[in-house]
């Protein structure tokens, strides 16, 4: 089992969700986050006062998939979240020790 964490542009969320569903992913957790990478910040101007926002709004998607599904899920995210411009985001893959479905007590791959 792997945890895939993807940071993407907010407007790409629906496309990515559809693609992940198509790749067999059963569920996901989404949060609105802020941060910066190579895109750095953006400049806002209010009545001449310039503010450089260091942190750009992004969406973080977390999905846990079985080892066999990792490649497909990564591909689904990477192709749909891609606009070709700076700030498209990143994908991280992390090992998961255990998963439990709270309602039934099912474990690991049965639980995801």
């Amino acid at each position: 089992m792997k945890l895939i964490v993807a940071i993407i542009k907010p407007f790409k969320l629906e496309e990515v969700r559809d693609a992940l569903a198509g790749a067999g992913v059963q569920g996901m957790t989404v949060s609105e986050v802020r941060g910066f990478g190579r895109q750095k910040g953006q400049t806002e101007i209010y009545r001449g006062a310039e503010y450089t926002t260091a942190f750009v709004p992004k969406v973080r998607i977390e999905v846990v998939v079985s080892d066999g599904a990792v490649a497909g899920a990564i591909e689904a995210i990477q192709t749909t979240a891609n606009t070709g411009s700076i700030g498209d985001g990143k994908i991280f893959v992390i090992d998961v020790d255990q998963a439990v479905r709270i309602r039934t007590g099912e474990l690991n791959e049965d639980a995801i």
Binding site: E44, I45, Y46, R47, G48, A49, Y51, T53
Partner: protein
Amino acid sequence: MQLSLRNRFTRLAAMAAGLMALPAAALANTAAAAAPTVDKGDTAWMMTSSLLVLMMIVPGLALFYGGLARTKNMLSVMTQVGAVAALTMLVWVGWGYTEAFGPDREGTFGKIIAGFGKYLLHDVSPTTTAATFTAGVAIPEYVFVCFQMTFAAITVALVLGSVVERMKFSAVMVFAVVWLTLVYFPIAHMVWASTGLFFTQGALDYAGGTVVHINSGVSALVACLILGKRIGYPREPMAPHSLTMTGIGTGLLWVGWFGFNAGSALEANGAAGLAMMNTFVATASAGLVWMLIERLTSRKPSALGFCSGIVAGLVAVTPAAGNSGPLGAIVLGAIAAVICYFAVTKLKPKLGYDDALDTFGIHGVGGIVGAMGTGIVYSASLGGPSPDGWDMGHQLYVQAITVGTTIIWSAIGTAIAIFVAKLLTGLRVAEDVEREGLDLGEHGERAYNY
């Protein structure tokens, strides 16, 4: 509107109930005997106008200012605006109306304030009237009292724009009472009452460019200078928390301003129509020109720029509303947008004062542009309603004297009012309250719980 000065005189002079006050000298003989006619259409329009001005305050100005503040201070801004407006209404009934528009007072002092005979609206009844711009036509005095009351209420609320996010609520309330008494009521008397200092000199101020905007703008500047900058200004970002609300507030201000400007005709007639026309086009021109300058100075045409231009145009056209043709108003709006833009984006950072919501930059500067511009666009040669033999040079001189005296008067009166507030309340919130936000620290609430 060529009769505006004379009729302002008539209106106020004839307000003294029962007593056939001397109307403008020329009309004295004919009007002396007949009781003025009260027209139901005029009355309905003036009642509507009064409510439109109330709408400019709550929710208009409260949302406009609130959106420009930070999230943690939203409620404090809205509460301060609403509460000073409410307080003004009580003060107005108590002594404001009589101080500004009460019985004539003898001597030099009478040029500055009126007599106190109408305290607590003494002698005002449903049958007493206030004259309009047309000889023999009047509106009920209660309606006039209400209309003028809303002007006082919005002016003191406007001042708060420079001191938000750090001034105590209690200090705001004390300041309002002292400021109205020392600054607003006397200036309203000087500009609009028949015996007033500027009125007798022939100053043109259709709907309150001097009384409301120069006055509130200069007072805002003085108040924020004494109060000091917000913690972190200008180092920390203090971006507006909701330009959506500011946009809604802007719309309410624009719509409400028709009560302000067209209502200042005191009748539902062609003069009100001219003021209405000008309030459309000067504003439209200023909103677009502000965005155009942003574009020309390599910025993006912004939503806040549009809103700022709208308000700058409204401010500038206020003294000119019935004193200009539409073309003059369009030019005046454009010029006000350019000058206010530079006041807000260049002058303020250069001088370093913390006029938080730009009350001075837009109302003070725009008011001065409007007052001086009115002395130009009034000219018949530019489509304005000036009578034959009118002298632009002299008019500009009178306008300049009025502007200058108002600036000095507001500055001194504001300084006194702020120091009284400081003495009684301490003026400024504690540092931790300011950091945490005035919503929690002063009111025990948050604007947004989600």
